[in-house]
């Protein structure tokens, strides 16, 4: 049975701090995760994502603060928690010299279950790699490895999954498939806490926390975070994108300017700058084919804006 019907929060984290030899990795992290939610922890490498996951999976002791998973304290209740969580560490941590099937069998046994017993749970994911079940895990491609790792993390029917950067280093197609799987798992009532450095994956989570330098800058739904972006944001395009960056930054009223794919995103002080003024400034510098549009912010804009404060 799972705890999804009860009122117990899947994760409660209060003022958790953790330092490695005086270098703080987590500073006062507080948040809760509801049952059946996909909660994303989004931020760059070194922001503290893995440390947070290790504290929650009882692998690391926090220096201060408390945390509980499924109502059990991560310090006192670590044995119980270890029975109930599925964990996928940041790097591929399966036995490369064992076959796909052997790996899965080992993890099933580890949790006192069998592949057959919980096959239904991993069927969607595992069936994609099953044709290669006699292949050694080390010989799989990045996307396949992640699917195997996810199968291994799921085989004991955990009520909550901790996935530390499951999409890092794998191609966009595999990433998309993985997220589709997570949505399916959510529909089966499994709570998912997932971390990623890819900002564009934020919209796939129910709620996200933006993490930077060991601190949560903001916790909200993706929409909530975007609507919290109150600056005026324009996308600017021209024929010479490289020179355009420097020239945009020279214009009065342009607060920040960053390259964003085929556009440059600028936040502007619209009390002193209008699109027309900007266009003429840029034309003075010799730019042509200039397109300026007011746009809605993305998560990445929000992240940079929050990080800039």
């Amino acid at each position: 049975m799972t705890l999804s019907g009860s009122n117990i929060k899947a994760v409660v984290c209060t003022d958790v701090c953790k330092s490695y030899e005086k270098v703080p990795a987590l500073r006062n992290i507080s948040f809760t995760v509801e049952q059946g939610e996909i909660f994303g922890v989004i931020g760059p490498d070194g922001a503290g994502k893995s440390t947070l996951f290790r504290v929650l999976t009882t692998l690391l002791l926090a220096d201060s603060g408390t945390a509980s998973v499924e109502g059990m304290n991560v310090v006192k209740g670590y044995k119980e928690i270890r029975k109930n969580v599925g964990y996928m560490p940041g790097r591929f941590s399966l036995y490369q010299d064992l076959t796909v099937e052997e790996n899965l069998k080992i993890f099933a046994t580890l949790f006192h279950t069998t592949i057959e017993e919980n096959y239904y749970l991993i069927k969607d994911i595992y069936s994609q790699i099953e044709p290669f079940k006699t292949r050694r895990a080390g010989a799989l491609s990045g996307g396949m490895k992640q699917k195997l790792a996810l199968s291994c993390a799921l085989i004991h029917k955990p009520s909550i999954l901790f996935l530390d950067e499951p999409t890092t280093g794998i191609d966009p197609v595999s990433r998309k498939e993985l997220w589709e799987m997570l949505r399916k798992l959510k529909s089966q009532g499994i709570t998912i806490v997932v971390s990623t450095p890819y900002m564009d994956e934020a919209s796939l989570c129910d709620r996200i926390a933006l993490i930077r330098d060991g601190e949560f800058m903001k916790i909200d739904t993706p929409k909530g975070i975007i609507s919290g972006f109150r600056k005026e944001l324009w996308a600017v395009r021209g024929s010479n994108m490289s020179a355009l960056i420097g020239h945009l930054r020279e214009v009065d009223g342009v607060v920040t300017c960053f390259a964003f794919g085929d556009n440059h995103h600028i936040t502007v002080d619209n009390t002193i700058l209008t699109k027309e003024i900007l266009r003429s400034r840029l034309e003075e510098k010799g730019h042509n084919e200039i397109i300026i549009e007011k746009i809605e912010a993305g998560i990445e804009d929000c992240f940079m804006e929050l990080a800039n404060r």
Binding site: P44, G143, S239, A307
Partner: protein
């Protein structure tokens, strides 16, 4: 102005990379299947593909690390098959997995690579200072690389990889896991290198970064299935983003999950 030139690939004044029918087989498996393309001087060339599509193999051949099974490749004016030593001396290389020695100081890393690539002794010190100044790292000269934040390391690694002013620099997922702000600073550095005439050959898993490239190639099952400017590719595939282009192409792959 230069950037605009590359949107029409016929209008180049010099090719730094020329590849014709390049193929690499490992036993019965064809990792790179008869690919041909050209990259011009100062161009930013995005090299995309799913995991296992053959990107790494192709890149290794271009860097002179792997001998092609058949086909021809000229990099920086040298034949990758017969003049691989010259190729290696004329290129820069940086990968996400390994970039700098973490247990060496910043200046020691620079000194090391300058030495490896034969930068004249008298140029090293002034160029080191110039590089650090450009990065705003003047205070970090004596810092161990491992105590630098990841983003800084990657920026430093890129600067080091073009320290000897190579004709072309190969970047293998240079921005993986780097925070959004630093990622953009990194791309501004790439722009600057390109403005100086250095050709940039880059792989990435961030599809928004593909948009920064002058032209993008997408590998599927060892072949190059698409090669054009991001704008043209989006038009051709009737897509709003490079991400969509990529997914439409990769779906055609027969062994997509191998």
């Amino acid at each position: 102005m230069k950037t605009a030139l590359w949107n029409s690939p016929t209008d180049r004044y010099m090719n730094v990379i020329t590849v014709e029918n390049l193929t690499k087989k490992f036993g019965s498996f064809t990792a790179v299947d008869n690919i041909s393309f050209e990259v011009g001087k100062g161009e930013i060339f995005g090299f995309l593909g799913a995991n296992g599509a053959g990107k790494t193999t192709a890149m290794r051949m271009l860097c002179g690390l792997l001998k092609p099974t058949s086909g021809k490749g000229i990099v920086a004016g040298y034949d990758i098959r017969s003049e691989s030593e010259n190729v290696k001396a004329s290129i820069g290389y940086m990968s996400q997995k390994f970039a700098l020695y973490e247990d060496l100081k910043v200046w020691e890393n620079i000194r090391l690579y300058a030495g490896i690539y034969g930068v004249p002794e008298k140029d090293i010190a002034p160029k080191t200072d110039e590089l650090l100044k450009e990065l705003g790292f003047e205070g970090e000269k004596e810092t161990l690389v491992k105590s630098l934040p990841l983003g800084w390391r990657q920026k430093l690694a890129f600067s080091v990889s073009i320290f000897h002013e190579p004709k072309v620099v190969f970047l293998d997922e240079p921005t993986g896991g780097v925070d959004p702000v630093t990622r953009r600073q990194f791309w501004e550095m790439i722009y600057k290198a390109s403005d100086k005439g250095i050709t940039v050959f880059v792989t990435t898993h961030y599809m928004d970064e593909a948009e920064y490239c002058n032209r993008v190639s997408i590998m599927v099952d060892g072949r190059i299935d698409a090669l054009d400017s991001p704008a043209n590719l989006k038009k051709e595939f009737n897509a709003t983003s490079m991400d969509e282009v990529f997914r439409k192409l990769a779906r055609k792959s027969k062994n997509n999950e191998l």
